[in-house]
Point group: C2
């Protein structure tokens, strides 16, 4: 036994040393897997390197362009499966055609809501590590720290031109914004869709927010408690190092459904423009298009296609399909399809609280956005790279959204710029994608967080729901995710005797590693600071925020 352990320790060190002089620092489980597969991984790495070099040579010495399309709230099976389109009563023909050219990552795990998933993709790290696990919906005075090294910053070291359009939702302080986080150009909303679609005047007329946004203030002392979409900063635009301005809102102007629709349409136009501009340049490019539909609450002014099943999100999903069709066509027209990696995926499951109105209810998995059941964290996810990643294929090994950071960095030839002074959760899945072999995956587990609390440990097809405070671990629910996609029939009795301890130990190693690499908090600052044309009503809203902050230190 001692001998085996010594041999494994040697292998572990050899594996670590073989990879790179200063290897990326990973979580504990990675090293356990590496020790078991070090030789195979080294071989695969050599094959991947050769394949990437070949592609680079064929592309004039340049790495591929990379486009990330991250869709807001999407269940598993909503895109790319015509049979399930039919079940839902709508069609996504453009996305389905795209999926036929792509590989589906069947077990892509995201975080359970918008902000943490986006943080994980941008930083390669679990959002809990920098206190970004929550989704803010109001003025909050915090955001993604400037010290994080984003995927855009990594790719820039390899010569990439970078651009971001659409949602961002990683903070309302300047250091958190895309133009300050590695993007040469960015146009993005600061907040999410909550205020923008619920707390404006049309929403009241549309009866979206009856009793919430329109409650009478006659007996309410706090006049500023009621949210007002028009008073918050909406969409900002700017270049790295340059001025940042709010666009399309004048002082005193009211935000409404028309403005919301205009914003979404503008993101689409701007994305096409950016694609044209970047395609005309010499540099490889990294373009993020993060649309703010289909998540949607406004009920009038349904532009575009007629409602296919009566659901608000489904309407917008069908509209988005048309938009993505335009984008893919434009890629063809510009001749960049062949040399571009496109990742198309959802950021988390549907917002099930709105499901009956949305047209989407949980279908294959249980729960949705905000839940740590599979319905919250399993999404449709595709990656297309013609000639390099097999078309119309799938991989069924576990991939976490943070792996995109590490993997796309490698495909872009920029792995060396991944920081070595902190723990990176994302593992390199290039071999699984390029070699289409499920044994090539480098992860067989996920620690599932909700905000800052670990809620579940997934390993292979098994999932342990961690007991909450005051709950006995012996009764914790184990699920077989293959046999029971809705997590309704715990197999705790059957598996508990062995699995309970094993799974708790996975979590234990994860927590123990935080002693060396402790979690920190988000960056804090003055909301909207540095926006040149901040409107008076927005300044008042910031003052109100500061007043609330001060109230706790009186």
């Amino acid at each position: 036994m001692q001998k085996t352990l010594t041999a494994m320790a040697a292998l572990l060190m050899a594996g670590a040393a073989a990879a790179q002089d200063a290897p990326i620092i990973h979580d504990a489980e990675f090293y356990i897997l590496q020790a078991q597969h070090a030789e195979a991984w080294a071989e695969d790495d050599a094959a991947v390197d050769a394949k990437l070099a070949e592609a680079r040579d064929a592309n004039g010495g340049k790495p591929p362009n990379i486009i990330s399309i991250l869709i807001d709230d999407l269940g598993f099976g909503d895109m790319g499966i015509p049979e399930l389109n039919a079940v839902r009563g709508y069609q996504t023909p453009n996305i389905n055609a795209f999926s036929d050219e792509a590989m589906r990552m069947v077990r892509m795990y995201t975080e359970p809501s918008c902000t943490p998933t986006r943080v994980a993709q941008m930083t390669g790290r679990l959002p809990v590590r920098m206190g970004m696990g929550d989704t803010t919906v109001d003025i909050a005075g915090f955001g993604l720290p400037g010290e994080e090294v984003t995927l855009a910053e990594v790719l820039k070291t390899a010569g990439y031109a970078t651009s971001h359009v659409g949602k961002w939702h990683m903070g309302d302080i300047p250091e958190s914004w895309a133009m300050n986080q590695g993007f040469d150009y960015a146009q993005h909303a600061i907040h999410q869709q909550g205020q923008l679609t619920i707390f404006h005047d049309d929403a009241i007329r549309e009866q979206v927010s009856v009793g919430i946004a329109d409650f009478e203030a006659a007996y309410t002392l706090d006049n500023m408690f009621r949210p007002d979409a028009s008073a918050m900063a909406t969409v900002i635009e700017g270049e790295a190092g340059g001025p940042i301005r709010e666009i399309r809102m004048e002082p005193g102007e009211r935000w409404n459904t028309a403005k919301y629709d205009e914003m979404n349409q503008a993101f689409q136009y701007k994305t096409l423009e950016e694609l044209q501009r970047l395609s005309a340049g010499d540099a490889p490019f990294f373009l993020q298009y993060w649309p703010m539909i289909p998540l949607h609450n406004t009920r009038t002014g349904r532009s575009g296609p007629e409602s296919p099943n009566g659901g608000l999100y489904v309407d917008k999903m069908q509209q988005l399909d048309g938009w993505l069709g335009e984008l893919f066509d434009e890629m063809d027209r510009l001749g960049v399809t062949e040399n571009t990696v496109v990742v198309l995926m959802g950021d988390n499951g549907h917002f099930t609280k709105y499901s009956p109105q949305s047209g989407f209810t949980p279908m294959i998995f249980r729960g949705g956005k905000g839940d740590t059941t599979e319905g919250g964290i399993r999404v449709d996810a595709f990656i297309r790279w013609p000639g390099m990643i097999p078309a119309d294929s799938l991989v069924n090994n576990i991939i976490h959204v943070s792996d995109l950071y590490t993997t796309l960095s490698r495909l872009g030839g920029a792995s060396d710029a991944i920081p070595r002074d902190r723990l990176v959760d994302g593992v390199d899945q290039s071999a699984a994608l390029l070699m289409k072999d499920e044994t090539k995956g480098r992860r067989d587990h996920v620690i599932v967080y909700s905000v800052a609390v670990p809620k579940a440990v997934i390993k292979d097809k098994l999932k342990l729901n961690l007991p909450g405070a005051g709950e006995n671990a012996i009764g914790a629910d184990f699920f077989d995710l293959f046999r029971d996609t809705h997590e309704k029939y715990p197999i705790s009795t059957e598996i508990g005797a062995w699995g309970g301890q094993e799974f708790v130990r996975i979590l234990g190693r994860h927590m123990a590693r935080k002693e060396k690499y402790p979690d920190s908090g988000p960056a804090r600052g003055l909301p909207y600071e540095g926006i040149e044309n901040l409107r008076p009503e927005t300044q008042a809203a910031v003052k109100n925020f500061l007043l609330k902050q001060q109230a706790v230190s009186k």
Copy 2:
């Protein structure tokens, strides 16, 4: 208004007259649809006739062969969608390849359990019409009446050679058996899988039936209450008009897992043999292969592939995929693929009570076998006819399993033999299948029965769950099946004001029509009568059955 009604009445009569001198008698809703689409239907019928005539000419004047593969207990999405195979953790490559050559009938509705679905396909009529809505699991002394004109009998009038292998499950009296219901040859089990897998000696050892089959009789007066698989008749074989014999069981022999596995394997071999025999003949053929897997309870002796996800049914589903692959290959080898219509489908949803053990739990729809939720009555269903039905396609209009009777009769050129003296529920869906156009369907509704009670009315995407006795109709649940596949969020308030009455009237017309065409009961008789080699223990079991019958008339 009066004028419109008169015009509609004229159209209604014209439509009826145009179809045939003595048209098939349908349920009330059919005539409402026909009145609205009579002209289009007449045009479509002409186009279908031309298309069928062309195929017949190209096939030496013969109609196509027809193969029905009816799989026992299968959820929607278990076959033909590789992405969902991956979600479940198993593979059906042969079935998926078949589905790529076929059309998926996305909204195929079956009855909620084995017997009624099979009756509906065989007779084109709702099982309630002849009292066959229930699924018997024991010796019962009743079955499908000889007066029913089965699909096999209809096709025989057009010169078809007919054969049936596998499950039958429509009665234990002779007139109900396949060789007496239009099949030239049949080899089938009389009962279903319950006794055959649960109530035998191995099952007790395998702990399948702990506390059921092995309970101590010491304090039980009724020694014959405990079921015994070995005492019931198992598989019979015979030709039309010839002797009928039980096969592979000797007097005193015990039924066990090995016998069960042997039976299933024998059905597979016999199907291949029948395919070869029928292909060598001059007549077009109608072959039914109704396997008794994947429904499965035995726990040892797992032959074939290793368990892909630990589930008993999933094991067998993977085995069945191999078997169907053999069948499709043999069709190719025999050169009959081109001229053969193959219908491959499930008979109802999974038996959810066993789901965690089965490896299949409800995934896309709610509930399973026995339920009238979509999970009980929506199944994977494919139809393949190379060159005639578009490959890799789907139709999303409503089709009921009884429609196969009328539709396959038409494809076989045998519509004239469909009886005109009774109500036939199955409508002709040839146009929808051959012309692949969802507007060509001839049904937009289903009356969903459980045994003899109407439980739901489906029209388009809406479903009304009918209130039970003592329940107020005003509170009945309405569901939008597109938006809410799991039937969890009733839209009763929104739709009830209009839909409640409309849906109740659909049911009202259906019930009113029973005054002219009343329901009758099943045929009754002596169980197993006419089996030449009835074993002594089986004779004793029949005596026990008769004793119970007599007890009620003492």
